[in-house]
């Protein structure tokens, strides 16, 4: 080992953006065949760092060494020439093109289509990846899309593969498959730089972890001997607060009852909701798990009132049918909602925070009376949200768009939670939010439930749901599975339900969802 130079070595890499030091004097090395984790919160500088390794950005200072030789990586093409492959967090795929065309675009050399197809099939066979090269990407599941990216990277015979948060959208089974592929690659001598903030995955997969915080390298450790907690604390640079969840809580009466809710698909790529039934009691946190694009958006819109149903009884609060009411009327009935998209859906980016407060609190908090806004009351309420949820903002008159993602999410959650809704429906409450803010949001949700509200959390983050929820159901292809108690839930079963019809090859796993689950859901809760 000592005489082979490291595959990749960074020395003193610094990158500055206007107002931020994204990377500050970062140095570390990756050995051949090593699976190396790059760990850090959102905004810690992980993505910027790998973009420089892949040639998308140039460092302001510092040097990159490749197999012991100093290199300047001008662009992604140069990176690929060296043998660096990258699988992006947000897939750089072209939806309207076929798998084959997508892969051809990522190749620098001109390869005849037939030969390329042969090579693709060979690589897929070698690593046990299944994919039909002739299919159009728009029809593929997220897991299948990721496979395209992996195959594309593997075709170049990389000796360093960068994976940017590869598992954030995969089912547990898909994660296992991915790890098998990565381990096989590493055993063949390919180094892997694995970016994630999922600590148990890093413990299971990686040999070394480099931890970044606010652009600086704070520690390098062996994740196999660290605990998840110790790594998390290095990441956030402080003590991790546990969620205070009172044990043995009892629930009140039924608050939100959804019966046989069906909504036709919205638009070209929409997912129709089919016979969704579940019930949530006062004090209960109900989780909806599932891989993105299985009807979560439609479900949130149907519950919030942005889409209404002809059957008023399909959605009931305290036994009053609200299916036909719009969002404003539902808010008056005590149902508040937080959509997934923070900027432009949950908040108007160009409005001040207090104006944004008026938008959802105008009736319930009487921030507007007979159409006239009460600016004083709005400011006072917004100030309360800011201080209670430690939102970092220049004040109540800061525009929503000027806040960072985590802070805006804290504000939006706070704005709804302090209205003390009877029922709160949230989608992706901690998407792209750093660990500290996520913990604060989680605690606020648990506290709200403890105060007697019914809460529905729609999330792709299974860990989050298992941590917070009392009851859990899985949405797949617009259908909701039976509800199960989290304390008795089996992670394998949840994974299979999440895979549903989108599993292996797109059709093979269909039997994983037994017929009639939708009907059972009603009786289960």
């Amino acid at each position: 080992m000592t005489d082979t130079p490291p595959r990749l070595s960074l020395r003193g890499i610094t990158k500055r953006f206007p107002g931020v030091l994204a990377n500050d004097d970062v140095s570390f090395s990756v050995r051949p065949g090593e699976i190396h984790a790059l760990l850090g919160e959102n905004g810690a500088g992980k993505s910027t760092l790998v973009k420089m390794i892949y040639g998308i950005m140039q460092p302001d200072a510092g040097e990159i060494f490749w197999n012991g030789e100093r290199v300047v990586i001008q662009n992604p093409r140069a990176a690929r020439k060296l043998g660096i492959g990258m699988v992006f967090q947000h897939f750089s795929l072209f939806e309207a093109l076929t798998v084959l065309e997508n892969i051809a675009l990522g190749m620098d050399a001109k390869i005849p289509q037939r030969e390329l197809e042969g090579r693709i099939r060979k690589v897929m066979q070698q690593y046990g990846l299944t994919l039909d090269p002739r299919r159009v990407v728009a029809d593929l599941s997220v897991g299948e899309r990721q496979r395209i990216e992996i195959v594309r990277a593997l075709l170049l015979d990389p000796t360093l593969l960068i994976m940017d948060e590869p598992t954030s959208v995969l089912t547990p089974q898909e994660v296992d498959q991915l790890f098998v592929v990565l381990r096989q690659l590493a055993s063949e001598g390919c180094s892997i730089l694995y970016i994630s903030h999922k600590l148990h995955e890093i413990k299971a997969l990686c040999e070394t972890a480099t931890i970044l915080r606010a652009g600086r390298l704070v520690d390098t450790c062996d994740p196999r001997v660290e605990t998840s907690r110790s790594m998390a604390e290095k990441m956030i640079g402080g003590n991790l607060k546990d969620i205070q969840k009172p044990a043995g809580r009892s629930f009140g009466r039924e608050k939100l009852v959804v019966t046989e809710l069906s909504v036709p698909a919205a638009g070209h790529f929409g997912v129709p909701l089919q016979n969704i039934s579940f019930r949530v009691h006062a004090g209960e946190i109900f989780g909806v798990a599932g891989v993105a694009g299985n009807g979560q958006t439609a479900l949130l819109l149907a519950l919030s009132g942005e889409t209404t149903t002809p059957d008023a009884q399909a959605i009931r609060i305290d036994n009053a049918g609200i299916g036909r009411l719009d969002a404003k009327a539902r808010r008056l009935k005590g149902l508040a909602s937080v959509p997934e998209e923070r900027n432009g859906h949950a908040a108007v980016p160009d409005f001040t925070l207090s104006d944004n407060s008026v938008l959802t609190g105008r009736d319930r908090l009487k921030l507007a009376i007979s159409g006239i806004i009460r600016p004083g009351a709005a400011r006072k309420y917004t100030g309360e949200v800011i201080s209670t949820f430690s939102v970092k903002a220049t004040g109540t008159e800061a525009t929503a768009g000027s806040l960072s993602g985590g802070n805006l999410q804290k504000y939006i959650m706070g704005r709804e939670i302090l209205q003390r809704p009877e029922v709160l429906v949230v989608s992706q409450p901690t998407w792209g939010v750093d660990a500290g803010a996520a913990a604060a949001i989680h605690q606020a949700l648990v506290d709200l439930a403890a105060a007697g509200s019914a809460i529905v959390i729609i999330s792709q983050d299974l860990d989050e749901l298992l941590q917070l929820c009392d009851t859990l159901a899985v949405i797949n292809g617009g259908r909701l599975s039976r509800a199960m108690k989290v304390s008795e839930a089996d992670i394998n079963e949840i994974g299979l339900l999440m895979g549903g019809i989108h599993g292996e090859g797109g059709q093979a796993a269909a039997p994983a969802v037994p017929a009639g689950l939708g009907a059972e859901a009603t009786s289960a809760a």
Partner: protein
């Protein structure tokens, strides 16, 4: 109606369709790269005046086609610099380009008013077009055959070449294309220039093929029909060809209605015939937006400015 009459109608239809086909093909390629250039009408007019002037001065229609293409491409670069390099709004810039092109052609065409030019003659020996079949096949201007070749070439380029794949990729997902390492702006410049050149040739087809006289605004809104046609055709060159001939037919019927009266005006007053292309536009639009397949074909980045990070 005699067969000879039908042949005469057909030949008129071909002539009327060719400018729309050229302009539409150019706009199709431009839009496939993700750029919406509404300046087609303006670029056609610039091409028309450039082509007319070239023939008037040199008497060479072949040179006129080249000059018209160059002129169309040149004015399209004004659009490209504004929208691609300076990220200006494409719709507004395209409209401005039409106004600019219209004005420029009027100004430059002032001195040609009333001039006549010698238009293209057929490239085939006369004896080929002696019988009826020969006439249908061989009596057209070279530009007509060129337009057919271009349909095939554009299809082949978009679907069978790597450069075409890259162009489609840029129109589909500019950020991804950029992150893979393709020059989004460069590809779009090329696509806009091609669109401009084709619109220029389409415009030049008016004096070279249809009416060898200079008249102000001689394209008469065909540039707008070409833009609509790209949508109707679902961004497919083959369907664009069919659509261009459909509109060419409707336009020709109007001419015949005005000229020969009775047969046509018994069915519909001539104003009705004149309105037909536009009614057809509305009907086609309604059908396409009602069917899911038609609307879903648009390049995903169409009309969105590309602003790369760092």
């Amino acid at each position: 109606m005699s067969v000879d009459f039908l042949i005469a109608v057909l030949i008129t239809v071909v002539g009327a369709s060719t400018p729309i086909l050229f302009a539409g093909l150019g706009e199709l390629v431009t839009e496939k790269s993700g750029v919406l250039n509404l300046g087609v009408e303006g670029m056609m007019l610039v091409g028309a005046v450039a082509g007319f002037a070239t023939v008037d001065l040199t008497g060479n229609p072949w040179l006129a086609v080249v000059v018209a293409a160059a002129a169309g491409a040149l004015v399209s670069m004004v659009f490209a610099v504004l929208t691609l390099s300076l990220s200006a709004n494409q719709v507004a810039t395209g409209l401005a380009l039409t106004i600019f092109g219209t004005g420029l052609s009027t100004l430059m065409g002032k001195s040609f008013t009333g001039h006549g030019i010698k238009a293209f003659t057929t490239i085939f020996p006369d004896w080929l077009a002696n019988d009826r079949i020969g006439k249908v096949l061989f009596s057209y201007s070279p530009l007509v055959y060129f337009s057919f070749i271009m349909v095939g070439l554009v299809w082949w380029f978009l679907n069978r070449t790597r450069a075409g794949l890259i162009l489609r990729a840029v129109g589909e997902n500019d950020l991804s294309a950029h992150s893979i390492g393709y020059s989004v702006t460069g590809v779009r410049y090329a696509a806009v220039a091609f669109g401009g050149a084709m619109a220029g040739i389409g415009g030049a087809a008016f004096p070279l093929v249809l009416t060898p006289l200079w008249a102000e605004g001689l394209t008469g809104g065909r540039g707008w029909i070409a833009i609509a046609l790209v949508v109707f055709a679902g961004w497919k060159p083959g369907r664009l060809l069919a659509g261009a001939y459909f509109f060419g037919l409707l336009g020709t019927l109007e001419l015949y209605a005005k000229a020969s009266g009775t047969v046509f005006t018994a069915l519909l007053p001539s104003e009705g015939w004149a309105a037909l292309p536009y009614l057809a536009t509305i009907v086609a639009l309604a059908i396409i937006s009602a069917s899911k397949a038609g609307g879903g074909n648009a390049p995903a980045c169409l009309g969105k400015p590309f602003i790369p990070s760092t």
